[in-house]
């Protein structure tokens, strides 16, 4: 079993300014208050779980008035030392783009931009899968937050084949709520989030998928973080946990329900910094 080649170094943002201040997905209800202390504890718990699993966690400074900055998965796409910042569909999140771009530029990344008329929400809507016997492809979702044409432009920027999947359930509005690559053969998959064509694409790509039931998908099981053979999950229903352990993974349940109020789980709170999509990219630069 070939472990993921990435997932040992993450960018996170402390939730000092986190809150549900607007509603841009079906999980968000502005009248629901976030318990800040609890949110902070849960976030600290996630950081600890990732570190314990062997990952390095890098922090970016939180900023007032951009509460969703905490969901660093949506910052953009990392490819070696290249960073492509997101273009957010909702004006509420658009201010995040320049904050993210500035952080990555300061960290030594080459920042390259998507065409301004196209929306794409970064690693939230694009996750790499590298089959044991094949090249890396980026599985990218579209419809609620990202444009299908944005995916084409992104593919041209990062030089990696992209398989587009149409997202059809507004509750699973990002592809990282429906798809979690585990290694070169396996992935956690929530078919309820995809149209029939998307399901066929994933079936053809992933030799051994763990198909989630609808309630498991809506418990954000696919929004997990994989560090080597450890899977940090917002919730691990028994059936899912047993299957993952049978495959040899260590399952760590890390409740982040304060963040679920905003429609985000463990994966949403992290952005892997050690992803290389183009085989030649890291060495060429």
């Amino acid at each position: 079993m070939a472990e993921l080649s990435w997932g040992r170094r993450y960018l996170m943002c402390p939730p000092h300014h986190f809150g549900v201040l607007y509603e841009i997905n079906p999980w968000m209800h502005a009248e629901v208050t976030v318990e800040h202390d609890r949110a902070s504890l849960q976030w600290e718990g996630l950081v600890a779980a990732l570190r314990l699993a062997g990952a390095e966690v890098v922090m970016m400074d939180p900023q007032p008035s951009v509460p969703d900055l905490v969901f660093t998965a949506n910052a953009g796409i990392v490819n070696g030392n290249q960073f492509v910042p997101s273009h957010f569909r909702h004006p509420e999140r658009q201010a995040e783009t320049e904050i993210d771009a500035a952080w990555f530029a300061a960290a030594g990344f080459e920042v390259e931009r998507l065409p301004s008329e196209l929306d794409h929400e970064g690693a939230g809507d694009a996750l790499p899968f590298t089959p044991d016997d094949g090249d890396t492809v980026l599985v990218s979702g579209y419809s609620f937050r990202s444009d299908a044409a944005g995916v084409t432009a992104l593919g041209a920027l990062v030089g990696c084949p992209i398989k587009s999947v149409q997202l059809i359930d507004p509750r699973l509005y990002h592809v990282d709520l429906t798809f979690c690559p585990l290694d070169g053969r396996r992935a956690i998959c929530a078919p309820m989030g995809w149209d029939l064509y998307g399901r066929k694409v994933i079936e053809a790509l992933v030799p051994e998928p763990l198909w989630l039931e609808d309630d498991e998908a809506l418990a954000f099981c696919a929004n997990s973080v994989v560090v080597g053979t450890t899977i940090v999950m917002p919730s691990a229903p028994p059936r899912v946990g047993r299957q993952l352990e049978a495959w040899g993974f260590t399952v760590v349940e890390c409740p982040v329900d304060e963040f679920l109020k905003a429609g985000g789980g463990c994966r949403c709170l992290t952005l892997a910094l050690d992803v290389t999509l183009t085989a030649t990219r890291a060495s060429a630069r």
Partner: protein, 403 residues
Amino acid sequence: MATETIELSGHIVDSLLLAKVLDMIVDAGVAYELVDVQIGRTNVDPSRARIELEGGQPDLDRLVDDLQVHGANRLTSGATTLVAADRDGVLPAGFYSTTNLATDVLLDGTWVAVENPEMDCAIVVAEGRARTIPMHRVVRGDEIVVGSGGVRVHAPAKTRGASAFEFMSSEVSSEKPKALIVREVADRMRAARDAGGRLLAVCGPAVVHTGGAPDVARLVEAGWLDVLFAGNGFATHDIEANVLGTSLGVSVAEGTPTEGGHSNHLRVINEVRRHGSIAAAVEAGYITGGVMAACVRRGVPFVLGGSIRDDGPLPDVYTDTAAAADAMRAEIRGVTVALMLATTLHSIAVGNCLPAWVETFCVDINQAVVTKLADRGSHQAMGIVTDVGPFIARLADALCGDA
């Protein structure tokens, strides 16, 4: 029928995007053609497909909007470029030269239909509207469309209404059963009038020479013609036949030349000129029958375009060709069926002014006339190769029998 071209690029084959888009097109009942497909040679190379869609405009617009969600982009030819004319009667260099097909221009992001489609004109844009304009009508400062960017042309419908003429869609031929064709033309004229369209006839002098004028007059009297275009010759011989019983000096009834008949038409023109107009001559009782008198009595507008061969001419004849063309343009509004009866040059002139959707039947004994009309751009013309006299008599029987 309208057409759109969309382009889809990326990893469209293994993402099943192309399959999905094609399925959506088929589900929408829209016809498509893959005009260009480039499949990436390696896993990393993106693929590209250019798809031409053809269907009803509302279906097509809805489909293209739906397809955009999946990354299929409408291929627009770019923005419309407008250049102001810098002098009267002269278009800016590089002006867009129109076809007779329904045409749209992209103005502020929306497609606006060009009014009065006509071939060999320019497009002028004013106050968010676009219309064709002939070269000589351009006034300094008019905003004229330049280049083909932001211009789209709708393909002509492949089938004609109720498929009545499918059997005739082959080459122009004299080997067609005439009775059947007459019945079909009559049906198309009935259908056009029921749909609120106007019926136009363009007549050459041969209509009178072959004895067809009384039948055209019957059609006018019975309300089967709404507009008449002709030249000095047709009107003159129609009046000559009524007043003196000859057409170019030959007895219409006997078919024999009459004594001194070569000057008959000149004498008739001279008398009409004395009255001041054809209408005045009809009112004074000088002209008592024929096509022109029927038009005057029924209030059917006619436009007589002059030529340098004309004798006289009759006082109603436009001797300024540009003015004649403008008068024809004014009468063409709402015309949906045009009969071109035994006239070569006038048919081409009128064909140039007609939008492509006007059903045009070109009746001539000479096959070359029909071919010529199509070659000059009036591709919608249906050719009927036959002697115009008997044809128009049968058509009048078919229509006036039940009118």
